[in-house]
Amino acid sequence: MSTAQRLIPVTQDPDTGGFFAAAAEGQVALRYCTDCGALLHLPRAYCYQCGGWNSGYRSVSPRAFVYSWTVVEHQIHPAYPVPYTVALVELADEPTARLVGFLPGRPHLYAGQELRAWFERLDDGTTLVQWRPAGAEGDQA
């Protein structure tokens, strides 16, 4: 990446912080209602399906499939030099749950392509869940 400072996610939000805590431990985790099992994604506390307030994060498979993507060619932010690609993925374990990931350059992507999670540690120690083609070089945790 460039020397400009990347954007860092707030990781202490009471609704979403658990996602980033799990990422720091190398897990892709989603929030579920512990009363009825409903998926709460994007994460929030109240389950309107059962009226429950009890929920927690549960790890899911670090596999996903390409749902859509865009190659960004027009520079917006100095810490995100073009070209780069933003992929919108659906998780293998939870097809209704999507996440986005950053891929440098213009990787060849196609709809339904399998991607695997990797965990990018930013300078301040925050961890982002990123996605790249299964079998890509440099897997790390």
Partner: protein
């Protein structure tokens, strides 16, 4: 369906006004708002003293009290606000109608003012320009911005790619929307792109911004303001230019709408059908009309793909066929549904949906530079994510 206690045409638009549209107005947002509202009042033949209500967009820098003070309004009895951003304009008119029918106001000004090019630019990264820590506080930006998903254009690029995946839509189909809007702007001296023709070759040769969206898939960040005066139809009939009936207005969200302002819409079951499909259902029901009854439409076009998706959501084209509808001439002046007859956000200017309402009124009055002959039913829509709004204007005959 909820919200069906609607009386068609009880209120009307009695006046319209705009400033010039430019890249550098040299004026404050407050001056632009004041100028557009004064023009709308003059158009209606009303004095500022007649105004007792103001409805603003949540992203406007100008507050209701700022405008009232600038105009010398002695006392407001009603004010309201809608949003976020481009979702607002048709809902703002709806709120004015609500205020009038409930007796809280009699003459309500609805305005949008922005130095969208020389001041705060909506095409850039929102919070990302000035801060490093992003998200939290129900923004849900923490799931998007750190990954380089920074702008509305990049989000709509993901929607456009998905539409191509699901239905085989093409760049040329998107290009046909850009070209059609430009053709309307060539007849409109007030349009920013007046005198600047655009061919399909120009469109395809332009640089990629966020694939599959190219330069001319994007609207024009603009300095300017637009306003309308809303009052009862009975009172509007006594105004200088008469009444353009607000036949129906609707705002609606979809189930599973997701929290946050914009990017979380990518988490919904579909990203190729938007909240506009729910607005359409409610709007047609209230109006007692359907797509076949519409003579002319101003469809919110922050990007070409936004217009394409609404062609499908409002039922003018079958799902997946919006691109073909546009490419076959369906949105041209002689097409099945003439669209964005002033040039739209893509080629007239981006006043965040408000100039679309002004143009929708002009079509009923017969004063558009892209006039559809005998237009009696005029549709105007607002931005789709996260929720949306729309209205139908009809002739008072």
């Amino acid at each position: 369906m909820s919200g069906n206690g609607w009386t068609p045409g009880a209120c009307a638009i009695a006046g319209l006004g705009t400033t010039d549209f430019s890249r550098n107005s040299g004026r404050s947002d407050l001056s632009l708002a004041t100028q557009a509202v004064l023009a709308a009042l003059a158009d209606a033949g009303l004095e500022a003293s007649a105004v007792d209500g103001v409805v603003r967009c949540d992203m406007d820098l100008v507050r209701h009290t700022d405008l009232a003070e600038a105009l010398g309004i002695r006392q407001l009895s009603y004010w309201g606000e809608c949003g976020p951003g481009g979702v607002a304009p048709c809902a703002m008119v709806g709120q004015a109608v609500g205020a009038i029918l409930s007796g809280q106001a009699s003459t309500v000004v609805v305005f949008r003012s922005l130095n969208g090019r020389s001041g705060r630019r909506y095409g850039g990264a929102s919070a990302a320009q000035s801060q490093q820590l992003v998200g939290g506080n129900v923004s849900y930006d923490e799931f998007f911005l750190p990954h380089g998903l920074l702008t509305p254009g990049q989000m709509f690029a993901l929607m456009a790619r998905r539409h191509m995946i699901e239905y085989g839509s093409t760049p040329e189909q998107l290009g046909s929307i850009a070209v059609a809007c430009r053709e309307r702007a060539l007849a409109n001296p007030a349009a920013q792109m007046y005198g600047r023709p655009l061919t399909m070759a120009d469109y395809l040769d332009a640089r990629m911004i966020a694939s599959p969206l190219r330069l001319f898939d994007f609207c024009l960040e603009t300095d300017g303001a637009a306003a309308v005066v809303v009052t009862s139809t009975e009172r509007a009939r006594d105004c200088r230019n008469g009444a353009v009936r607000i036949h129906a207005v609707a705002q609606a969200s979809v189930p599973g709408t997701q929290p946050g302002m914009m990017f979380p819409a990518l988490m919904r079951d579909s990203i190729t059908s938007l909240s506009s499909r729910a607005v359409a259902e409610l709007l047609w029901s209230r109006a007692g009309l359907g797509p076949a009854d519409v003579d002319v439409a101003q469809l919110y076009d922050c990007f070409t793909i936004t217009l394409l998706l609404q062609l499908e959501d409002y039922g003018f084209a079958k799902r997946g066929e919006g691109g073909a509808f546009a490419a076959d001439g369906g949105i041209g002046l002689d097409g099945q549904l003439p669209c964005n007859t002033s040039g739209g956000h893509l080629s007239e200017g981006y006043i965040h949906g408000m100039n679309h309402i002004v143009e929708g009124v002009r079509q009923i009055r017969g004063t558009s530079t892209g006039q559809v002959r005998g237009a009696e039913v005029s549709l105007v829509t607002a931005a789709p994510p996260p929720a949306s709004s729309a209205l139908i204007l009809t002739a008072d005959r």
